[in-house]
Amino acid sequence: MVATTETINQVKTTTDKYKYGFSTEIEVDKAPKGLNEDIIRFISQKKDEPKWMLDWRLEAFKKWKRMEKPNWAKVSFPDIDFQDIYYYAAPKAKKKLNSLDEVDPELLKTYEKLGIPLNEQKMLAGVAVDAVFDSVSVATTFREKLSEVGVIFCPISEAIKNHPDLVKKYIGSVVPVTDNYYTALNSAVFTDGSFVYIPNGVKCPMELSTYFRINEKNTGQFERTLIVVEDEGYVSYLEGCTAPQRDENQLHAAVVELVAMNKSQIKYSTVQNWYPGDEQGKGGIYNFVTKRGKCLGENSKISWTQVETGSSITWKYPSCILMGDNSIGEFYSVAITNNAQQADTGTKMIHIGKNTKSTIISKGISAGKSQNTYRGQVQIQKGAYNARNFTQCDSLLIGDTCSAHTVPYINQHVSNAKVEHEATTSKISEDQLFYCMQRGLDAEQATSMIVNGFCKEVMKELPMEFAVEAQKLIGISLEGSVG
């Protein structure tokens, strides 16, 4: 009897481990595999794009072909064959959609399984969602309510058509096309993503949110998000990601650009839970993402908060360029790696304006055979008088087959700037585990509690509804790491 229960539980935990690992049977519109100018034309045509956008893409493609893959990160993986990837996959729609009712019910079911209620009635919680399924944005909720206050929140493919001046002005202005290999690739083939515009003096009345999902086999997801907040505006933007469980690796190379004008504020939160691969490291998402914000205006502020638990490889450095005087950049990160996952993540804070301030709090948790690297750069450029940075990097090790690394770069060109860096590495102590277990918590509950305590400073930066999800996620991603 006991043995049977045990088996059932065992099976349950194994299959529960990645609960977003299902895939959806849906008719799909796909471009042929591989990458060349015709594919880019195909994508641009599918999106009904103006010529300037196509030209921009083709130019990026030309540059990409001459670029080299970055190899400085502490991650290893077999060479990616960029001709073996589908660059465009869209759920087949029979006609143009006018409302949610017309969205394929299979698709809505998928989002329901993911816990994203697209249904507007259920959305009274006040989160407006843009859902990106493989390459296209499926539905954007609450659009009308937002447009009443002048906020634009729509798929970027629509913004290119409807707000070309804004897109033209800002796309590539924070992350140049040739910033790195993957940004050039993204610029050539990006298929969708979100666009947010907050006009002068508007505090966005609700949290905006995008949900990304990779469904199709062998597809890459190349989304592009652009957020522009004018003087004294404010927006809080949330981003969540999942993908089905597949044996092949899938590539996700996104670009996110934020622009903050005078006295404006952007809060960008991510819970990344792409499929991490199995225990042996088979399958999983390559998450090669470039995220950067520019504090263009004085007294502006950009904060990045990320909880990274998924992906087989994470390569990601959400950064801030602090141009405006008195501008503030913040980076709060929790990165958890288990089994064979590899993460090389951190931030760059580039201080250009006077009295600019940045704070970096990074919590890395490694378990299994995983590798977890914090890589960060703090640059105080000439003229950034009185700049301040505080960096704290803490690593927590679970077990003795994982590793944690901290690689801080500090370039300081101003004498009265102040840069502080603190780093710690600790192990979950047996004393702590035993103490919690003596009170009746099992090993996994105890670990999750201790780890959540370790991440406290970052978790409290997350919007409430996200924090609860993230807390559970931490527990799930560490399952099986203590025995």
Partner: protein
């Protein structure tokens, strides 16, 4: 009825024998005191009971309500109703005391098949229990044992005991580091929890705690064994004459 039965327990750490055939029976409604000089194996006994890694028996048996404890993990033993008040409670940075207490309380309720309390109901309940132990709200907002004074840590242990309502509580040197006032509060807390169905085992070096928590049976432990048992007078005798006389008498 016996709650806890230890028979001929032998245990070694790093190949050194610490427990050398220890036997102890604790019945419902009883309060036991285990006294002994430093290094007699008192704390080892408490870890062994709680099932800490590395404190497995070489020989002998322990049963709890006639269930063999030896294969059970610390959380399983806790769920059966075994509580250990630590001599040195462990700090959990970042874990709020209130959340921790709610987690262990609800986890126990769940095990017992009882309804978990909502956040609000739990807070009300917690406030009441905490008040009896002179624990202020402010303390419950801090992280578990983090920056607590010695007295606060011990009161927090008893608070957990009160929430979990165990069948048997082992108090390991709970009096160490307490001044007289704190000692009174802690002892009162323990006495209030005591009833005919549960049992308390007090491990202590000194007699003074036993002025407040009255034992039914006092055991003298030395060199990994219980060498003498008696009533409360035995503790008073030790207080007056020290351990040496009994130890000598034994050898």
């Amino acid at each position: 009825m016996a709650i806890l039965e230890i028979k001929n327990a032998e245990l070694s750490i790093d190949n050194k024998k610490i427990l050398k055939g220890l036997s102890l029976n604790v019945n419902e409604g009883e309060t036991h005191a285990i006294m002994g000089p430093n290094g007699s194996g008192k704390s080892t006994l408490s870890y062994m009971l709680a099932g800490r890694d590395g404190y497995e028996l070489d020989n002998g048996s322990i049963t709890f309500d006639n269930i063999d404890l030896t294969p059970l993990s610390p959380d399983e033993r806790s769920n059966l109703g075994l509580f250990l008040a630590f001599q040195y409670p462990v700090e959990l940075p970042g874990v709020s005391s209130t959340n921790f207490l709610r987690e262990i309380f609800n986890s126990r309720k769940k095990y017992l098949g009882e309804n978990e309390l909502s956040h609000l109901d739990f807070i009300k309940f917690l406030r009441k229990v905490a008040e009896d132990l002179s624990i202020k709200d402010e303390m419950l907002k801090r992280y578990v044992n983090f920056g607590f004074s010695g007295g606060e840590k011990k009161r927090f242990e008893i608070l957990q005991m009160a929430l979990l309502n165990p069948k048997i509580s082992v108090l390991d040197e709970t009096d160490s580091g307490l001044d007289v006032d704190a000692l009174k509060i802690v002892s009162e807390g323990v006495n209030n929890l005591k009833d005919k169905k549960n049992a308390v085992v007090v491990i202590t070096h000194y007699q003074r705690l036993l002025d407040y928590i009255k034992p039914d049976i006092v055991h003298i432990m030395s060199d990994g064994k219980i060498i003498k048992s008696g009533d409360a007078d035995l503790a008073l005798y030790i207080e007056k004459n020290g351990y040496s006389e009994i130890l000598n008498e034994k050898s």
